[in-house]
């Protein structure tokens, strides 16, 4: 037991956390993120990487279903939490650590899963072919086998010995094969695969689901939907007596969004810097200092020719030269340009808010609506990496959009 216990204790000190943010619970997520960092834990990239699943806010039933699908993918030992209040973050993670260390409980958990499906067992060497519906019907995993249209093979293949033919297209593991689609942009017939992006992905806008039809990794069709919290009401925000609190919150939100964009772009240093500025803003650090730091990061981003080269012209909105039949030119200033322009606009906005110290206008629902509505057309035709960058640069605030569509115009 000594070695196992030591292993467990050492392992739990380095746990990794998969965060699910329910729209409207940004403050809670930020609080949990800070606690994660404080404990020396890490944010997980995918469900297979995670030990702890933290849901920030109360999800609606549909979102809860998506979360459940992710939960069954956690390899275990695992713990699951619902954090509804930013102030509870530290205690909740403490509880998660205890749950991870609770050996009998983890054994019981593993045992119950073993009955549900032997899939997660360590040595199921040959891929079992039986259907295993509830184990892995996740949203970010799907069958990726590109198959040719079976019709093609059937009319041609019986030349002399058709005894060997076995083309009745079984479904391996109960997962249907990718269907045949129309020609792709290179004029090759491609198979289509429907992959829903979100709602549980790292650095993804809360509550957003983009159902993508993929040719390889190129998005040929995208459809946006949103998932909400249990009740679409403005969440109770702890009002803190601080100068320009509203402006600060919005500036922090902009920094957070920019940090997530940079994380998607794979640029850790400024992303981490922006996260700590965000925390500083929320903690009430002098706004001059925060503004200076934001300006420094902005300069770092603006100067990087590597980033400019890498994302140039991606997700272009409303700027000449416009492709024939392209986007009409009624784009709000904050959305104008390519993904990098939108990132810089966010950073500038954050800095201005910090310097002005004004009241700070709450997020404009029409603007957020536009961010959401423009998403499918911009994303279509891009590969997945580019599409992720575009989504991160638009970063629609689903909570605001939903609240206003519920309340009516």
């Amino acid at each position: 037991m000594g070695v196992t216990g030591a292993l467990a204790r050492a392992g739990v000190r380095a746990a990794s956390v998969l965060l699910v943010e329910v729209p409207g619970s940004t403050d809670t997520r930020i609080a949990v993120e800070r606690q994660v960092r404080c404990r020396g834990w890490r944010l997980a990239m995918s469900s297979a990487d995670a030990d702890v699943l933290v849901v920030c806010g109360r999800p609606s039933p549909e979102l809860a279903k998506a979360v459940q699908a992710v939960w069954v993918q956690l390899p275990g030992p695992r713990a699951r939490l619902l954090v509804d209040d930013a102030r509870e973050a530290a205690a909740a993670l403490e509880q998660a650590a205890a749950a991870l260390l609770d050996a009998p409980r983890q054994r019981a958990d593993a045992g119950s899963r073993g009955q549900a499906g032997a899939q997660a067992e360590p040595s199921s060497a040959p891929a079992p072919a039986e259907s295993d519906g509830d184990q892995d019907n996740s949203d970010d995993m799907d069958d990726m086998g590109d198959t040719d249209d079976p019709g093609d093979t059937d009319d041609s293949s019986d030349t002399d010995d058709s005894s060997d033919m076995d083309m009745d297209m079984p479904m391996p593991g109960g997962v249907p094969l990718a269907g045949g689609g129309q020609d792709d942009r290179d004029g090759l017939e491609m198979d289509e695969l429907t992959v829903p992006l979100g709602p549980v992905l790292p650095h993804w806008p809360a509550g957003l689901v983009v159902r993508c039809v993929l040719h390889g990794d190129v998005v040929v069709h995208a459809q946006v939907s949103t998932l909400g919290p249990a009740a679409d009401v403005a969440p109770e925000v702890a009002e803190i007596a601080m100068d320009g609190w509203q402006a600060r919150r919005i500036a922090a939100g902009e920094c957070d969004s920019a940090a997530r964009f940079l994380a998607v772009a794979g640029w850790d240093h400024p992303s981490q810097r922006l996260r700590s500025v965000r925390d500083g803003i929320l903690d009430g650090a002098p706004s001059q200092d925060c503004a200076r730091e934001v300006a420094q990061v902005t300069r770092q981003v603006r100067r990087s020719w590597l980033l400019r080269w890498s994302v140039r012209g991606l997700g272009l909105l409303g700027r000449a030269p416009r492709p024939p039949g392209g986007v009409p030119d009624d784009v709000p200033a904050l959305l104008r340009g390519d993904v990098r322009d939108r990132l810089l606009a966010r950073l500038d906005h954050a800095r201005d808010l910090l310097l002005d110290g004004g009241a700070g206008e709450p997020a404009d629902p029409r603007l957020e609506r536009q961010r959401l509505d423009r998403l499918p057309e911009v994303v279509t035709g891009l590969d997945l990496a580019a599409a992720r960058l575009v989504v991160a640069s638009l970063d629609p605030n689903v909570s605001v959009v939903r609240r206003h569509s519920v309340a009516g115009p």
Binding site: D152, T153, S156, S157, T159, G187, L188, E189
Partner: protein
Amino acid sequence: MSLQAVLIVVAALFCVGLYGALSQQVVVMVMMGLELMLNAVLLAVAAVLWFLAPQIDGAVLLLVVLAAMTVEMAMGFAVATLLHRSRQSDMTDMAADLAG
């Protein structure tokens, strides 16, 4: 190990490749058969060199075989892409009209 032993292995490899090239329907699989046959040729040249004439001149032939394999592969990929594009198929049977 003798020259005969190696050559029998070569013959086995070659015939497996031949079987594949003759029996497969999909262009890419036919290419794999051809590659296997060239693989056998490679081994044969190396064996003859080693057992009969270990002078270097013959090794140049090995380089040529390697180059032939690359050329075959590149052209195979190109033809497969072209076939797939033009008639949404990559079966050799369906390209039979190319013969006449």
